[in-house]
Point group: C2
Chain length 366, copies 2
């Protein structure tokens, strides 16, 4: 029940909260959907064709496309625990892990990881290649530059499916064109408390952005966390899409900041809500993940408003990742049943709030 040492901290760079507006925007990700010419899309492809895609990617590993080196991890060769760790870090999708097929990754399903940059490539997911980056705060240009550089390298080495009129061709037509999806994970408790959130979200839809809850499409809005992303991928350049996305999310941030100012001056109700959330996280003996996220929302707001002196944003970010099921099991060194998981989660959170180090090597079970 241990993730290989080299992968222990992989995909966690954004937790440091070093990016712009990191108190409101947890992370920005940009992904590009790309497919290789001469192969059917992954969903239609047989094992042989999927392996051929895998081999094409593997063939680039030792080339100047990856000056800092790269590793290609076959999902089928990772143990189920490590795969879940990757899933919880949002490095791989359920689809890549074949979770719909009894946790059995399909042939050729792999993740290409780079040691130096927060970029990776899912291989044989819905598209042959999904180039993705994940960075702290609202850093859309940085996130895009990372995948764009990778795209240039890969496009120079492999023949990508591209149509002069439609752009990059993708498995699902909604991705065709740039194949670009930018998304930001934002925390909007003040807009929720002031009941402005519906209007703000409707405004996003009108300018071509969509939103969903923390755990992807269809999930509801736990803890006032929202994932905002662009809907259209076609008819504009990547730069345009990214710029429009960044500018729109910036207006949401400004609205959230104004709403926080309103709450700051609106009497003791907000302070009470914040301290109650802190009191529960600091003392509860059992926590479901949903419970945790709702309470964490209050604490995160409290820190941002200066009503709570601690913990800092990076500790709050760590809690989101490390109190998930597989991460708790990793720390405990064994599988946990549902009730144990709640107890371990509560103990882990208590420790972090006590100012202890919430590192992945801390054993929340002891």
């Amino acid at each position: 029940m241990k993730t290989p040492e080299a992968l222990r901290d992989f995909g966690l760079g954004w937790l440091d909260g070093s990016g712009p507006h990191a108190d409101i925007v947890l992370s920005t990700r940009v992904r590009l959907a790309r497919n290789l010419q001469g192969h059917r899309y992954a969903a239609q492809a047989d094992a042989g064709e999927r392996e051929a895609v895998y081999s094409s990617v593997a063939g680039m590993l030792e080339t100047p496309v990856f000056p800092g080196g790269a590793s290609l991890l076959r999902m089928g060769e990772l143990d189920v625990h490590t795969r879940r760790i990757f899933l919880e870090r949002r490095l791989v999708s359920s689809d890549l892990l074949g979770r719909q097929r009894a946790d059995q990754p399909s042939a050729g399903a792999a993740l290409l990881v780079c040691p130096d940059d927060p970029v990776s490539v899912m291989v044989n997911e819905e598209d042959h290649l999904r180039l993705q980056s994940l960075v702290s705060g609202l850093s859309v240009m940085e996130a895009w530059s990372l995948v764009d550089r990778l795209d240039d390298g890969i496009g120079g080495d492999l023949s990508l499916a591209y149509h002069p009129e439609f752009g990059y061709l993708t498995s699902c037509p909604t991705n065709t064109g740039t194949g670009l999806r930018a998304s930001a994970l934002v925390h909007l408790p003040a807009l929720v408390l002031t009941k402005e959130i519906t209007r703000v979200l409707e405004g996003l839809e009108r300018v071509g952005l969509t939103h969903r809850g923390l755990d992807g499409e269809g999930s509801d809005f736990v803890g006032n966390f929202f994932q905002i992303s662009n809907q259209k991928t076609l008819g504009r350049s990547e730069e345009d899409l990214v710029e429009h996305f960044g500018a729109t999310v910036t207006t949401v941030i400004e609205k959230e900041r104004r709403a926080r100012q309103v709450l700051r001056g609106a009497g003791p109700r907000t302070e009470d809500l914040i301290w109650r959330a802190y009191g529960l996280l600091r003392h509860a003996r059992l926590l479901t993940y949903r419970d945790l996220m709702e309470l964490l929302s209050g604490v995160r707001l409290g820190v941002s408003l200066g009503m709570l002196p601690s913990p800092r944003v990076n500790a709050l970010n760590r809690i989101i990742i490390f109190s998930q099921a597989a991460h708790l099991a990793e720390a405990a060194g064994r599988e946990l049943d549902a009730s144990e998981r709640q107890a371990h989660r509560a103990q882990y959170v208590r420790r972090v709030l006590q100012g202890e180090n919430g590192s992945p090597t801390t054993d929340p079970g002891s």
Copy 2:
């Protein structure tokens, strides 16, 4: 906004938690209803007749009936704040304060207090005299002895309305006979959590005891606190009534203790509930009294189960009294509006849980 110095600690002896089973039974009270011959009952009496009753009581003050001395406080001469303090300490009734009549006590309404014993006498309440004692824990015999001694003294000095067949005559026929009402304020969280409470309360009814919430008849059951008292006053001796009452409440205590054992061994749910209550009391910035009592119930259970190391029972008892409206105003030195009261209450409770002294001189507003 200050209660006269001599009355500052009056009626608070039971808070020390020194009585038997004080973790479950907060206090025991016994009261005897008595009326003077030759005067109409207080409800029918005019001002002159009520004053005559008052004078009869005043005439005993310097006699051996009160070897330790006694004071007779006219309700109309106390300021409204002090009257509310007395009400919150359950030393006087709303009826005696004339609260139904715009907070105007009727002529002759008074409270006789003894400096050495936890006994007092309401004068010109529903009956001419209501002798009452209030002691810590389940101490029925002690509470009864205190009023019985007083009853002997008063009966030797004044002619009490007594019928050889019916016993002591009272304004309301339900009190006729002994005029004795014993009651215990009990905390039964484990019976509530294990859902045995309904059966236990039904059992009480069958043996002639009744129950109500914390604030008297008709009030609902806040914080798992119940007032249990005898229904019948007629046809048995005072000793029999008191003994039967004490024995029955003892069986309730045993049931509660067994239910607490069940909870102790029943997994982490109870511990979580207890620590969450503690976390909220320790950190909330606003508390309604109802909120407080519900949370205090969890903390009280936690202390009793040894799951929380503190606070001790006497601190928990103090909170019940000192977070009421008039007591908070006393500590603040001024009237508080509803919102301020919630903030002062929360601050007072935080201080007590921080291990500070929850004395009435502590200013929860600072």
